[in-house]
């Protein structure tokens, strides 16, 4: 089992690199990463592109009239983007921050709207309802770029297609029906009707249908602003104001993975994208979603990785990994896992419900190898740790989040001590396993870099080794005058490149045999689903009344740099940040040693009364390792329970209490 996450995005020495060549050569399987997947899973339903391709280039923020920062703290988590938001603000854009806690972002924003943890979905739905109800929708946009005029069969919930009447239709040629409002009859989309109806219930050749928009409109009527106000604790006027502000396009939503960390995260993304599609706030200049801009690069994956013709399977999500290892079975069928290689990942620290490592995972693995350059928790508990060379000690090729450049990474120094570039580590192991043909002796990083760049598509883009070597960074999407807007021409959907307001056939992000029968139909439209645990209606809420979040600290990137001495001088130890009200009711003062606990685990650490915390929220900034706590660890408290569709760790969907020790 290969356990790989996102510790390094290098195309040679990182998680996008040659480990795949090795894994495929030996026929290994791969864990499916379950971090930060829900937002993308939700956006995928509307604009396609999978879980990663949803954000526009951050420079597009400069064209926005309004920027709503929703569940994100870019000042800490994506500071490279913050300066662009700031510049947009200087140019007159209004910046609104919706967050559970007060952050430096909130401080710099024009307006801060606090919200109840996990209720963002309700807010989005109510705003959508208000926008539709008050006719703030952008009808021309909906007609031209969304599936709003598409017709949905009432009998089976499927879109009305050419193939519904003509079984001979080539699936590739299949077309959607819309209602031509001029001719007042159903027509195929490709026939180019003058005008289409976005509302109405019709009967087409005996089939009862209604437009997607009508379906949506009727569906969201239940999410009144009043109800949302009650759940989100945002005043009604504020929600209405937010909805009006949002609809007055172009409005940009800046988000990342805050809301993602609840079990309803993907639904929020779904709802938010639907709302964007209704108001024309997507795929146009100055509007859309920014926060995680990722580029797909047509590198030589096939040639470099697929040594046996196919990719390693990755159908076991991290969320259920402990169960699979414990049972040595998946969905009732034997699935023996005895050895694991962890690379580019501090899984023990970053996967929810840490204690399963001690009860289920480690006792049932015979052999665990970790390749890393920091002695992480995962490495500490491994059988063997192989020291990887640091980024500055290897040559590599990379693209990174939030910029449109492909970069040549050149090593500054030779690897220190016993460390080796990961590709060399894999090569040495592979050669011992008789795989010399895949990992020849005596090649350096440059050999692999050139191998990755060897595609016609890249040559067409004029991205070559020599150019990268000379320019170091090459812009591969957009231009500085015209930054890349996601979906400007079309969306990556199967609905004629339109934004989908209705998910006809919602699929789980990863199918490991989970029961979806109860929810598949529901998931076709964004609906309100309360967070799985961190919700006031949960009976557990009485026992553990605090919602526990692990905010992103600016002194670490997840767990990276946890032991960097210079940063530890600035931020020496883990702190449990508690609101003044919650601290006073528990007689806790700043500097007290407290135990944060729930049924899953505990963390003993120093408390800090922090006014940024809204009452009812407790935060331990993430990334600290076990040895840095007095006892336990922040990740012991979180849950591995995930939404069956998004299959994503819901770290913030977690209840705890705290007491002085």
């Amino acid at each position: 089992m290969f356990d790989i996450a996102s510790g390094d995005y290098g195309f040679v020495n990182g998680c996008l690199g040659m480990y795949q060549r090795f894994a495929n050569s030996i026929g290994a399987s791969k864990l499916n990463v379950c971090y930060d997947q829900a937002t993308g899973h939700g956006t995928d339903r509307v604009i396609g592109g999978g879980v990663w391709l949803w954000g526009s280039e951050p420079m597009t923020l400069l064209d926005a009239k309004k920027i709503i920062i929703w569940g994100s703290n870019p000042v800490y988590s994506t500071p490279q983007n913050w300066r662009i938001i700031k510049e947009a603000q200087r140019k007159g854009a209004k910046v609104i921050d919706i967050d559970v806690i007060y952050s430096a972002t909130a401080n710099k924003s024009d307006e801060f709207i606090p919200i109840v943890p996990g209720s963002d979905l309700m807010l989005a739905l109510a705003m959508t309802n208000y926008i539709i109800g008050h006719n703030l929708i952008n009808v021309p946009f909906m007609k031209a770029r969304t599936t709003a005029p598409f017709l949905v069969r009432k009998d089976n919930g499927k879109m009305l297609r050419k193939s519904d009447f003509d079984s001979q239709t080539d699936p590739k040629e299949d077309d959607f029906y819309v209602w031509d409002s001029v001719a007042n009859q159903p027509v195929l989309l490709k026939s180019g009707p003058k005008d289409v109806a976005i509302e109405g219930t019709y009967n087409v050749k005996g089939l009862d249908v209604e437009t997607v928009f009508t379906l949506l409109k009727n569906h969201v009527k239940q999410y009144t602003v009043e109800k949302a106000s009650e759940l989100t604790k945002i005043p009604v006027e504020k929600i209405e104001y937010l909805a009006r502000t949002y609809a007055d396009s172009p409005t940009m939503v800046y988000t990342n993975y805050g809301i993602d960390h609840y079990q309803n995260g993907h639904l929020w993304a779904f709802a938010a994208l639907v709302m964007a599609s209704l108001t024309g706030n997507i795929g146009v200049k100055g509007a859309g979603f920014v926060g995680n801009y990722v580029m797909y690069m047509p590198l030589n994956y096939k040639g470099a990785f697929y040594t046996n013709g196919k990719a390693a399977t990755s159908k076991i999500p991290q969320t259920i990994f402990h169960q699979v290892v414990k049972d040595q079975a998946l969905a009732g069928k034997p699935y023996p896992i005895k050895a694991m290689l962890t690379f580019c990942s501090n899984s023990m620290s970053n996967m929810g419900q840490q204690n399963v490592w001690f009860t289920d995972i480690l006792p049932n693995l015979d052999f665990h190898v970790v390749i890393d350059f920091e002695l992480t928790d995962t490495a500490r508990y491994a059988d063997i740790v192989l020291p990887a060379a640091f980024w500055m000690e290897v040559d590599d090729l990379r693209v990174s989040y939030n910029n449109p450049y492909m970069m040549m990474q050149e090593k500054a120094i030779e690897p220190l001590y016993e460390s080796k570039p990961p590709v060399e580590i894999f090569g040495m192991i592979a050669r011992k396993m008789g795989l010399e043909k895949f990992f020849p002796q005596g090649v350096d990083d440059t050999y692999w870099v050139k191998m990755m760049l060897d595609t016609d598509a890249l040559r067409k883009m004029n991205v070559t080794y020599d150019r990268l070597k000379a320019e170091k960074a090459v812009r591969v999407q957009g231009t500085s005058e015209k930054p890349y807007i996601r979906g400007e021409k079309y969306f990556l959907t199967k609905s004629a490149g339109r934004a989908q307001l209705y998910a006809e056939n919602p699929l789980p992000r990863v199918n490991y045999g989970q029961d979806l029968s109860q929810i598949t139909k529901k998931e076709r439209l964004p609906y309100f689903k309360a967070p799985g645990e961190a919700w006031r209606d949960n009976p557990l809420f009485k026992k553990y009344p605090l919602v526990y979040i692990q905010e992103h600290s600016r002194y670490r990137v997840h767990s990276q740099w946890f032991n960097t001495p210079m940063l530890r001088e600035l931020d020496p130890e883990p702190l449990a940040k508690i609101s003044r009200k919650d601290a006073e009711s528990r007689n806790i003062k700043t500097g007290d040693i407290v135990e944060v606990f729930n049924d899953r685990g505990r963390a003993v650490l120093k408390a800090e009364i922090n006014d940024a915390m809204s009452p009812g929220v407790l935060s331990i900034p993430k990334g600290w390792q076990r040895e840095q706590f007095i006892k336990g660890c922040y990740q012991e408290l979180t849950s591995a329970t995930s939404d069956p569709m998004a299959v994503n760790f819901a770290y913030f969907d977690c209840l705890v209490d705290v007491r002085k020790v």
């Binding site: 000042v75 500071p79 490279q80 913050w82 300066r83 700031k86 007060y102 952050s103 430096a104 909130a106 401080n107 710099k108 801060f112 606090p114 600016r554 002194y555 001495p565 210079m566 940063l567 001088e569 600035l570 931020d571 702190l575 609101s579 003044r580 700043t590 800090e608 922090n610 006014d611 940024a612 915390m613 809204s614 009452p615």
Partner: protein
Amino acid sequence: MRYAMAIDLDRCTGCHACTVACKVENNLPNLIWWNRIITVGGESPDTPKGNFPDLKMEFLPINCQHCENPPCTAVCPVNATYKREDGIVVQDYDKCIGCRLCITACPYSGVRQFNAKKPEYAIEVAMGDDGVAPHKEKVVEKCTFCAHRLAKGLEPACIRTCQNLARFFGDIDDPQSEVSKAIKGRRYVKLLDHKGTKPAVFYLT
């Protein structure tokens, strides 16, 4: 000719890039910071002030203000600190006897730091520029406006690294310099200006 710095507090997010860049460039020993960030909420970093949700979370980076009228140089009993022609207040480690009178005379507390013990470093290799004077035990040290970089025609490390583009540097007497342009038309404060120190750091508000 007088070097000056401007810091745009509206842009500054207290990210510590300047403090760390300073520490690396000048190979500062453990626990020594020439550049620090003050938060409104208290000693703990990144804490706000007020009652939720009516809060403020501002940041103020502080380094040596390189006063035109520096109180520190006046009290130094051994002439270890003095003002250069270009306005930079420098510290001569060879002369400094570590009496710390300058630290108490300086109204911008904390910009002068005292190496009480033999300097210790987190890693065994020296970082930063080799033009930086080696650190010594029992002497006071402080920001030099990266005089070694200025000598090479470069800007100070903190200016170069500021990811929020909040820091500006240059000759305040030259209207075309970055710092003069940054200040032009902006409201600014100079810290404790009423004390007559005439600091060379302008905080744009």
